[in-house]
């Protein structure tokens, strides 16, 4: 009697353990299923784009059913054709975009790290007030500045040059200043104080101690700057006036709205625009996702 009761409970236990395991496996299978489905949703449009980009001119670009990855046509020549096109030279556009991106990176790095250092590590009258001003400027919709800034640059004779797209970055960006400042505040105070006692001036404290330690946050900012500037459409659209100065974003937008566009070349050009972003993303993704997370928490 006793033994049967015992076996019954252990059988019951085994049963519930089994059920638990079955539930867990079913849950995991369901999760993997949805993840794979979502990944397909992300990857298939990209694969389709590559397929179209590799088609020769006389083939129908759109097919029913759609071809999600290239199988029969491998017209790699479309990439150099898009890059060297005489009407829409995407190589030229890439080069122009790079100039603006690099200018913005240098400008942001220079200005934001300096300002963030002052906010994070120096004591001065008015620091709280100025910090509040900084926060408020983050909330001002920049669209308000679109017209008056355009007029300013126009009067300065900067219209049609890259200056309006680069120079402002040298005066800092509230969001990046805030991000870098948060990071710089996390270092112990003794760090600069002992350096000061050893006879460093503030510039040396900044340059030799605080700046090198801030590399991780600076990298995150640089990736953000790269992404924003690389894909900016509105700025170049407002300030650039000739085809040989256009950026990738403007070139693409013009190409898609133009009648009689060759879709294989358009998709090749689109990939030329996308690939650098993907490469930068994959190199930086770990730091980037961490950086975005910290921004999200600030709210």
């Amino acid at each position: 009697m006793q033994t049967t009761a015992k076996t019954a409970t252990s059988a019951g236990q085994a049963d519930s353990a089994l059920r638990y395991r079955a539930q867990r496996i079913a849950g995991q299978a369901l999760a993997y299923g949805s993840l794979i489905l979502l990944s397909a949703f992300v990857l298939m449009p990209l694969g389709w784009m590559l397929t179209v980009a590799l088609k020769p001119d006389n083939m129908p670009y759109f097919t029913i059913p759609p071809e999600w990855f290239p199988t029969s046509y491998w017209e790699w020549n479309n990439f150099p054709r898009a890059l060297l096109d005489s009407v829409q030279p995407f190589l030229r556009y890439t080069f122009n975009t790079l100039i603006i991106v690099l200018g913005n990176m240098v400008g942001t790095l220079f200005s934001c790290s300096l300002v963030a250092f002052a906010f994070a590590r120096l004591r001065f009258r008015g620091s709280e007030l100025l910090f509040n001003v900084l926060i408020i400027t983050m909330l001002i919709p920049w669209q308000v500045l679109m017209i008056p800034q355009f007029l300013l640059y126009y009067k300065l004779g900067w219209y049609g040059t890259y200056l309006p797209l680069i120079v402002p970055s040298f005066t800092g960006n509230a969001f990046f200043i805030f991000l870098i400042r948060q990071y710089m505040r996390s270092f112990p105070r003794d760090l600069d104080e002992s350096a000061r006692i050893d006879g460093c001036n503030f510039w040396q404290v900044f340059w030799y101690i605080v700046l090198p330690l801030s590399t991780p946050v600076l990298v995150v900012c640089m990736v953000f700057v790269f992404q924003n500037t690389w894909s900016d459409l509105l700025g170049p659209l407002i300030y650039l006036d000739s085809n040989n100065k256009f950026t990738l974003a403007v070139g693409l937008a013009n190409m898609v709205t133009r009648a009689g566009t060759k879709w294989n070349l358009l998709m090749a050009a689109n990939l030329i625009t996308i690939i650098p972003m993907v490469v930068v993303y994959f190199f930086a993704q770990e730091k980037l996702i961490g950086g975005i997370a910290s921004v999200g928490l600030k709210g």
Binding site: P45, V115, L122, I140, L233, V256, T257, G296, G299
Partner: protein, 298 residues
């Protein structure tokens, strides 16, 4: 020494202070004045008082169209993006092998440029030959929408495109989820709470600060839709103005029609709308946003 520190501080901040005056405060003041004029760069500005604002409110169909389009977009996209972003983040928060790989991949579309993504989707949304309608026909929708060529479906097209990048907000929620102390879930499990009750009584309340942040940024973001609208609908805002988003309308008035004064007035209405949104959000936030500890003043 204190004085030296102060001088150093202002020197370090000089680039920003210059920018603040030259590129921000100056232009803002100028913008107020410009919005009270009629000005097209070629002729000299004419003082018109509040006429620009009057025209906007009473006789500008394009302005009201841009408000309608933007509101329609908000109503459709914000709840959808928030729910699906949250759902995706719950999925990405599971402890499974290869999860990092999935996170990286699903976040990818949100880092791609607006123009490039829009160019891609213009072709996917082609009514007759596009992939989206092929899928819809495959699952039995006999007459799939005409998407961008139909005034009713143009904004939903933009929303659908946005769904492709929903991984962006999922990553923000994910960070919020990972900050919830696991003890809360452990205690709830001991008390016999199931997964759903844990979600409603722990996950959601602990996530309200993140939800608040995403809600504000997506409301304000709706007023900044430009790239997508421009690529999908051109500078006139698509079929019968169905894609005339607020910022696109403002850009068209200022830089296509050369009405700098009028565009500045539009900009100020945008500021006002943004201020109202932000104020309402912060006023009501005390009721639904839960902070475990008062966030320490930075």
């Amino acid at each position: 020494m204190a004085r030296e520190e102060e001088r150093a501080a202002y020197l370090f901040m000089l680039p920003w202070l210059i920018g603040l005056v030259v590129f921000l405060i100056g232009p803002i003041i100028a913008s107020v004045i410009i919005s009270l004029t009629d000005w097209n760069l070629v002729s000299s500005p004419q003082w018109v008082g509040l006429a620009n604002y009057q025209e906007m409110l009473f006789d500008d169909r394009n302005f009201w169209q841009s408000i309608r389009v933007t509101l329609y977009y908000i109503v459709l996209s914000v709840p959808l993006f928030m729910v699906s972003g949250l759902g995706l983040s719950l999925l990405l928060n599971m402890r499974l092998k290869g999860m990092n790989w999935f996170r990286t991949l699903l976040y990818l579309p949100s880092v791609l440029s607006g123009v490039a993504v829009a160019v891609l989707w213009v072709s996917l949304l082609n009514p007759d030959l596009g992939a989206v309608n092929w899928v819809l026909r495959g699952i039995g929708v006999a007459n799939p929408p005409r998407w961008l060529s139909s005034p009713q479906w143009a904004v939903p097209s933009v929303v659908l495109m946005g769904m492709w990048g929903v991984g962006g907000s999922a990553i923000i929620y994910l960070a919020g989820l990972q900050n919830i102390p696991p003890q809360l879930y452990e205690a709830a499990t001991i008390d016999g709470a199931g997964a759903w009750r844990k979600f409603i009584h722990i996950t959601i309340p602990m996530l309200t600060p993140t939800l608040f942040f995403v809600l504000i940024t997506s409301l304000l973001g709706a007023f900044q839709v430009f790239d997508t609208a421009f690529v999908l609908g051109g500078s006139r805002g698509g079929t019968s103005g169905a894609l005339r988003f607020y910022l696109l309308n403002m850009w068209t008035e200022g830089f296509r029609n050369g009405r700098l004064g009028y565009a500045s007035a539009l900009a100020w209405v945008l500021v006002l709308l943004a201020a109202i949104v932000i104020m309402i959000m912060f006023r009501t936030s005390a009721r639904w946003v839960y902070y475990e500890h008062e966030p320490t003043k930075a």
